[in-house]
Structures are given as structure tokens and as C-alpha cells.
């Protein structure tokens, strides 16, 4: 198929599809007038039932916690798949240990490492109280380690993320999620992912029951997954063939 024919076919079909799309969108409620019952029930129920202030985290880690389990496994799978794809023996020498030459960049980067990691942990820890949560905090924490790289300390980065330890952390993160879920069956005697822990006082760190635990373990899983993915890409970059 020549490029022109292809573009023509694409143009026509995309135009048709766009018309249909717009037709469908006109069937939606007016912007801002959505009255979905699901969300409203959860908004009013999550506080009293789950003792959390951030309803979104109650949805992600409890009401639809099974989706989040799928999402954690997805990250885990991605790590496995990336590692499998980039698994070629990287036997070449490390060509450059330091990618960045500017001292200013290094200094700024190094200074930023600590605060980023701390901020990441904070965001992760308060996920069920204020905006944030395991995912956001996890990525932020991992990014702290990336900054370490940006600061030109590839070796320092490698030292800070020994692969086996992180691998272990990743496995633990996902594994604990499942264990907490199973605890619902064993202890609670009823269902996978059902809350089995004291709910605690709303608005404090020790609240939310399993939400807090799941939030923490998913933070762990996400942070280590990100580090592992970054790690694979970095290794790829650092080895010359």
C-alpha cells in the first residue's frame, strides 16, 4: 500500500470514526452534571466505613482493591518482561561511569536526592489522608535514585540499588498484597481483600485498616519496580557493545 493510499484510507476512516465518536459524546451528561450513583455512594460511605479521608485511596485499595492488585502485578510483569527483553549478557566494559560533567548539575542533583526520597516517602505514607499514595510516592522515591544518576554518580546509584535487594523488595511488595488479601479469607472468614485490621482514628496515620497496609506495600512494589526498570535501561545505556 503506498503512503498516499494509506493516508487516504486513514483520513476517510478516521473522519467517520470521529463523527461517530462525537455522536456518542453528545449522549453523555452535560459536563459537570454527572450523577453516577457508584461514586456518590462511595463518597458518602468511605469515610464512616473505612476511616479514611481520601476516598480515592479507599477506592483503589479497598472497594476496587482487586484492580490495584492487577495493576501491581502489571508493574511486576513489566519488570520481568523488560528484564527478559534486555537480558543479553552485558559483557562490555563500562564506558563512562559519569555521564554528567557539569559540577553545578552534580551538586544540585546530589542535594536534591535526599529531599526527593523523603518527599516520596511522605507522599506514599499519607496517601489515604491527603492526595498521593503508594504509586505516586513510589515513583517519586525511585526518582530520587534517578537523581543520583543525574548527579553523575552512576556507581553511587548502583551501590544504592543492589539489584537482588530491590528484586526482593518488589516481590515482597506484590506478595504482601496477596497475603493481606488472603488474610481476609483466613482471619475475616469471608472474602479476598476484606479488611481485617483495626480501622483506627480517621485523619491520623494509623487509620484505614488494610488500606494503610496495602498502600505501604504497593508503594514498596512501585518504587522497586521503577528502580528495576530504570536500572535495566541504565545498564543498557552504560554497556557499550
Amino acid at each position: 500500500m503506498s503512503p498516499r493510499v494509506r493516508l487516504g484510507l486513514f483520513g476517510v476512516s478516521a473522519a467517520v470514526l470521529a463523527c461517530l465518536f462525537v455522536w456518542a459524546l453528545t449522549g453523555l451528561p452535560q459536563f459537570g452534571a454527572f450523577q453516577g450513583e457508584y461514586g456518590r455512594i462511595l463518597n458518602s460511605a468511605a469515610g464512616p466505613e473505612r476511616h479514611v479521608t481520601n476516598v480515592v485511596s479507599a477506592v483503589t485499595f479497598d472497594y476496587r482493591g482487586f484492580d490495584t492488585l492487577g495493576e501491581e502485578v502489571l508493574l511486576f510483569t513489566a519488570v520481568m518482561a523488560v528484564a527478559l527483553l534486555l537480558r543479553e549478557a552485558r559483557s562490555g566494559d563500562e564506558r563512562r561511569a559519569d555521564a554528567v560533567r557539569s559540577d553545578v548539575v552534580r551538586a544540585v542533583g546530589l542535594f536534591a536526592v535526599g529531599p526527593t526520597v523523603v518527599m516520596g516517602l511522605y507522599v506514599a505514607a499519607h496517601g489515604y489522608l491527603t492526595p498521593g499514595g503508594g504509586f505516586q510516592g513510589g515513583v517519586a522515591t525511585a526518582s530520587g535514585l534517578v537523581l543520583l544518576y543525574a548527579a553523575g554518580r552512576y556507581r553511587a546509584y548502583r551501590a544504592a540499588s543492589p539489584k537482588t535487594l530491590i528484586d526482593f523488595a518488589e516481590g515482597t511488595g506484590v506478595g504482601t498484597y496477596v497475603v493481606v488479601g488472603l488474610a481476609g479469607i483466613v482471619v475475616g472468614g469471608s472474602a479476598f481483600l476484606e479488611n481485617v485490621v483495626e480501622l483506627g482514628v480517621k485523619g491520623t496515620l494509623a487509620s484505614g485498616g488494610t488500606i494503610a497496609i496495602l498502600n505501604a506495600v504497593s508503594g514498596l512494589a512501585v518504587a522497586s519496580a521503577c528502580v528495576l526498570i530504570f536500572h535495566e535501561f541504565l545498564e543498557e545505556l552504560m554497556t557499550a557493545k
Binding site: P29, S44, N54, V55, V59, R64, A78, L86
Partner: protein, 136 residues
């Protein structure tokens, strides 16, 4: 005017799709895929928005009475964001591998790949005439 957020979702969807179809570079293609995916975030969040309502986070200061926007779509979008990162990382890993191989291919196979390693060059599954003459 109130149609604008939905229109944005449609716009991003088709802009991304156009980018993918006309893309000549796989990295470009991955990024366009990301743009397409962001249209689903916009669509979800626009659907769940309720005029005048706050975010579904009821810290002590905010009275629960006011009500909040839909928390479910936000949870869905969060998952969607993760999906997008995962997909991009995987495809980029494949792209890196292709890049490494195409270097190799240039060296050892007769028809040289072009200097711009045409990442979307057909791999020749359509050669209807059998070029192979070697007998096993």
C-alpha cells in the same frame, strides 16, 4: 462550551492516532501512543467532574455536605496511568533491541538497511517468489 472537555478527549485521540499512522520513527510512535492514552484520562475525568464540587478528599476542614467529584473515575485513571508507563517502557525496550539488531543486520546481510534504520521497514514476509535456492 460545556462540550469542550469531551471534544478535547476526541481531539487527543485522533491527533495521537494520526501521529502513529504517519510515524517514521518508533520512539515517536511510542510517544504518540502516550498522547492517545492521555485522551482516555481526559475523557474519564471529564465524565466524573461535577460542577462546584471538590476533590473527594475530606480532610477535617472540608464539610462532607458539599459533596465531591466522582472518586471512581479517578481511581480508574490512576490505573490507566500505570498501564501507560508500563506499555511505553516495554515498547521502548523492544525498540532498543531492534536498534541493536539492525546494526548487526547491516553488517551481515546483503540488502543493507538504510542509514536511518527504518524501524518500520517491511521484513519481507511477502516475497511471493521463493528466493531461497539452497536445498537442505
Amino acid at each position: 462550551m460545556s462540550f469542550l472537555p469531551y471534544a478535547l478527549a476526541a481531539w487527543l485521540f485522533f491527533v495521537g492516532l494520526y501521529g502513529i499512522v504517519t510515524s517514521r520513527h518508533l520512539v515517536h510512535l511510542v510517544v504518540c501512543l502516550g498522547v492517545m492514552q492521555s485522551s482516555t484520562y481526559v475523557l474519564l475525568l471529564a465524565i466524573g467532574y461535577r460542577t462546584g464540587k471538590k476533590a473527594p478528599i475530606f480532610t477535617s476542614g472540608v464539610p462532607t455536605k458539599v459533596g465531591a467529584v466522582d472518586p471512581v473515575v479517578q481511581a480508574l485513571t490512576l490505573t490507566d496511568v500505570v498501564v501507560s508507563v508500563v506499555a511505553s517502557a516495554l515498547i521502548l525496550a523492544l525498540v532498543i533491541e531492534i536498534w541493536k539488531r539492525s546494526g548487526k543486520l547491516c553488517r551481515c546481510s546483503a540488502p543493507p538497511c538504510s542509514a536511518q534504520p527504518a524501524i518500520s521497514c517491511p521484513h519481507g514476509s511477502t516475497t511471493s517468489s521463493r528466493l531461497r535456492s539452497r536445498q537442505p
